[in-house]
């Protein structure tokens, strides 16, 4: 049995068309993995930067996993949402990243995309917001059925993750 600690934060997001963003996140790991402690999903506050482009959340992540194998290394999946002035929420982007497998501090940038609707939908999105969302959120972190999607590029989410590994060397793992 080997252990992984993931300690870090969701720093913020940049490159989105509007401000007032928040982020829902979750961590997904394979069957051989067991969550020992920590919260594996969460949601940040709404951040509305005044004078700069990037929104900052500084949302903490602190998770402890134990595993029997390398299969299903944890993945972090993210959803960026926008809260408009009427308090409505619209999806701004889906993203995912593998939790780095090498120990140490990692500064990551996760690019995001969102489903693109038909041109009528795009037009209405332009004026009233909203837009299509995924029915199944596991499509964010699996590649199998992606070809069905028509998406558009959105902004980036910035992450800082520190990874601590334990006992992997005992099983001849180099990462």
């Amino acid at each position: 049995m080997a252990e992984v600690h993931i300690i870090g934060q969701i720093v913020g997001a940049s490159g989105f068309p509007q401000h007032s963003l928040f982020c829902k996140w979750g961590i997904h790991a394979g069957g051989a993995w067991k969550l020992l402690s920590g919260v594996a999903e969460g949601q940040t506050q709404v951040d509305n930067p005044q004078n700069e482009e990037m929104a900052f959340w500084s949302h903490p992540i602190d998770i402890h996993f134990a595993t029997k194998g390398l299969q299903g290394w944890p993945k972090l999946h993210l959803q960026v949402w926008h809260q408009d002035s009427f308090g409505r929420h619209e999806l701004y982007g889906y993203s995912f990243c593998h939790v780095p497998s090498s120990p140490g501090f990692h500064q990551l940038e996760c690019v995001t995309w969102r489903p693109q609707g038909s041109w009528q939908e795009q037009l209405s999105q332009l004026f009233v917001g909203g837009g299509p969302q995924l029915k199944n959120s596991d499509l964010i972190y699996s590649g199998a059925d992606r070809y069905r999607l028509q998406t558009t590029a959105m902004g980036k989410v910035h992450l800082q993750l520190g990874v601590l590994l334990r006992h992997f060397d005992r099983y001849g793992v180099e990462s």
Partner: protein, 568 residues
């Protein structure tokens, strides 16, 4: 003075998990020959005549004999002081005997204590006394101390504000699970709230060990009180002692001001009762037990085993991500990619070695159009080292990909081909691979591509590297025209696993590449065998040499020397 003084009176920090009430400090205070002995002698005749001497003179006369003999009982004092143990000073002793002076409950408590002491026969300590955390002095001390010797120093604005921050014994309610129900934001912060929250402060308890260094019989003067030692303890078991415990170092000294300039020395020792060895052992045992249980608990949750590759194989696990594609001419890009496993590589049957991303509309970033895919993939492959002597070097898996674009009428165009080798070292790798696409001579084909889509394509994508069908020694692409298009960014997290890596690390750290290490597995042993054989042979030779008759060696030696001479 033969012994060195300890001039370093900075603070020292100790950490302890024991309850703080076990802390005991021994203070030893001693007057060294007053520097004013000479002065006294000079002054004495005049002092003797002076009628304006204090009533002490009568006392002093009786003591004078003792003083001349060089020792007075109050010149030396030792006390063992527990944490927050109150020892009254002369001043306090006198003060608290008078009930009228007592106002606060603490004062009244002290009054009781003093009365009790009085009944028991007076206080034991003379010069050494303490101010505990509850005493007024501690508050005052924290309130304001001059930081410089300037006469006109006034507290700064910040000092005044900080004075309101009580760094000690706070009543802060612990944040528990009910924290979420609390309001997150205080819209109208009160004065009290500001005081408690604007500075992060760990609650701290303070204690001062003081020395009353006044002349005998004139104890109890505020200006003669000196701080011998300050001890601060916070709730995390951090003990700050200023100055540090005098261990092997020399004692501290205090030189008093005034015309007498008396010199005092004192030492601070840790007099806490040490843990008995058997108790310590028991504690260690308990901890060990705890860890074992924790481990068992983890094992019961997860299981103690770990999946391992078969012996002699290298397992390569690539957690990858197709991040983005940038710099392409058309919009709505998608990427088709697959992994090629060279000879001696295999992968589990369920493994998918190819993928197609979603179609992504680009956005403009720094004058470049980018498409974000954030497409996850995981490859697992095994490399089996069969025979090292066999022909060429082993090959590493390669990733081939093609970028395509889809337009409004659902026609696609080839935007680029590319390939890369999977990283051979474990860890994180961000790779950006440039791509190209084949073109035909003449504008006609380009016009056609622009207006109605469709363009020349590779029949076999592996042509992006060495084609699969290629045989021979020179790969020629003469006559093949391409145009550089954009690039694709990948993110790889490579993990390698092998039983060979479990071998002792010192040996393998010298090895450079994985293949060396893997290959070295059998090589290592053969080298080792050779070395061992060599050692054995050497030992045998030495052994033989020792057993040889002495004269034989000398004769050979002389023969050698004669030969050398002859050659010379």
């Amino acid at each position: 003075m033969a012994e060195g003084w300890n001039t370093d009176n900075g603070e020292a920090i100790y950490r302890s998990q024991d309850p703080i009430k076990n802390l005991k400090i021994r203070i030893h205070l001693q007057r060294i020959t007053s520097t004013s002995v000479l002065l006294q002698q000079i002054q004495e005749p005049t002092a003797g005549h002076g009628k304006n001497l204090l009533p002490l003179a009568t006392l002093a006369s009786s003591r004078a004999t003792a003083a001349s003999s060089g020792y007075r009982p109050d010149d030396e004092e030792e006390a063992v002081i527990g944490w927050q143990e109150k020892l009254f000073s002369q001043f306090e002793y006198d003060l608290y005997q008078n009930k009228a002076a007592c106002q606060s409950p603490l004062d009244r408590q002290y009054h009781q204590d003093v009365l009790k002491l009085e009944k028991a026969g007076g206080r034991k300590n003379l010069r050494i006394f303490t101010y505990t955390d509850y005493d007024r002095y501690t508050n005052l001390e924290e309130h304001w101390q001059a930081a410089t010797n300037s006469v006109k120093e006034v507290p700064t604005y910040l000092t005044e504000r900080m004075a309101n921050v009580r760094c000690r014994r706070q009543d802060r309610r612990p944040m528990d699970g009910g924290g979420l129900k609390m309001r997150l934001i205080t819209w109208e912060p009160s004065e009290e709230f500001i005081r408690n929250n604007h500075v992060i402060n760990t609650p701290m308890q303070t204690m001062y060990i003081m020395g009353d260094l006044g002349p005998y019989g004139k104890l109890g003067r505020r200006e003669q009180e000196y701080v011998l030692c300050t001890i601060k303890v916070d709730s995390n078991g951090v003990i700050t002692i200023k100055p540090d415990i005098t261990g092997s170092k020399g004692p501290y000294r205090i030189e008093m001001g005034g015309e007498k300039r008396e010199l005092w020395k004192y030492t601070i020792e840790n007099a806490s009762v040490a843990v008995r060895p058997e108790e310590q052992e028991r504690e260690q045992h308990m901890y060990k037990d705890l860890y074992v249980r924790h481990k068992e608990y983890l094992n019961s949750l997860v299981g103690s085993d770990f999946e391992m590759p078969a012996p002699g194989t290298l397992r390569l696990l690539v957690n990858g991500e197709l991040v983005s594609a940038q710099g392409y001419e058309f919009d709505n890009l998608y990427i088709h990619f697959f992994l090629e496993l060279p000879k001696r590589w295999s992968s589990p049957a369920f493994q998918q070695l190819s993928g197609v991303t979603q179609t992504c509309a680009t956005k403009t970033l720094h004058k470049d159009s980018v498409a974000y895919f954030s497409y996850p993939f995981t490859f697992e492959a095994f490399f089996i080292q069969e025979d090292e002597s066999e022909d060429s070097l082993p090959q590493w898996p390669a990733l081939y990909f093609e970028v395509l674009s889809l337009d409004f009428w659902q026609r696609y165009r080839v935007e680029g081909y590319g390939s890369l080798l999977l990283p051979a070292t474990p860890g994180r790798h961000v790779l950006t691979a440039p791509t190209w696409r084949p073109i035909e001579l003449g504008t006609r084909s380009e016009l056609r591509r622009f207006f109605i889509g469709g363009s020349p394509e590779l029949e076999d994508i592996t042509y992006a590297r060495v084609p699969g069908t290629f045989q021979g020694d020179r790969l020629s692409r003469f006559g093949f025209r391409t145009e550089t298009t954009g690039s694709v960014t990948f993110n790889f997290y490579c993990i390698q696993q092998s039983r060979a890596f479990m071998e002792s690390s010192a040996f393998r750290k010298r090895m450079q590449s994985v293949l060396d290490r893997l290959g070295g597995f059998s090589q290592q042993s053969s080298i080792h065998n050779v070395l061992e054989a060599f050692q054995r042979a050497r030992h045998r030779m030495q052994h033989v040499r020792e057993n040889l008759p002495q004269d034989l060696i000398t004769t050979t030696a002389s023969a050698m020397s004669s030969i050398r001479q002859s050659t010379a």
